[in-house]
Symmetry: C2
Subunit: 95 residues, 2 copies
Amino acid sequence: MMNNSAVGKSWDELEKEIFTPEEIAESRLRVALIGEFIKAREEQGISQKKLEELSGVKQPIISRMEKGSTSPQLETFLKVLAPLGKTLAIVPIEK
Amino acid sequence: MMNNSAVGKSWDELEKEIFTPEEIAESRLRVALIGEFIKAREEQGISQKKLEELSGVKQPIISRMEKGSTSPQLETFLKVLAPLGKTLAIVPIEK
DNA sequence: CATTTCTATAACTTTTAAGTATAATATAAG
DNA sequence: CTTATATTATACTTAAAAGTTATAGAAATG
């Protein structure tokens, strides 16, 4: 049984009890990357279905990826980025 | 039965018969990213075992990733990059 | 409204990455 | 050398993403 009550706590507070700082940082980063992908897709007016045609990645997978219910494989992410004229690069962590 | 004999063909020639241009491009990109990661790890004198401690990602996973026998999840790749002071960014495809 | 397009989700199968334990190989010490 | 020890690679199991199909619910279009 949990010894800390959840009542009255914000998600930020709860998150700190459940996950390590590394997990939180990593998760935010992943969310940021996916968010940038969504933005690029929408800016170019490309639907998930259309992107399925362009990338070969099925629409339900794109949906799950965007909703954050799966952490895509590097390969899958590169596949959906390519038709948007984007790719991934390794960069130094910014301060 | 295959109607093209493999005898006398280079890997580059064979590759074109087996994979689509998109698959080839994506694969080379993934290999390039992994190569850059390996370079960063070795330059910093960090062993796979040490990186396991720093990142929480098990050494066999790092090994398979570097050997190219798996395409890591985005999350896993971010985890191993972080202790090396690196992360991923979405960038335009270069000409 | 009705219809089409788009996104989300569910259920299920297949494929593949992650986790675990161990083995092979390389490197360093005696 | 050969024996330790560190480092990387390999089987094998488990977990999770991808693929498939179908459908429901939003949101735009006529």
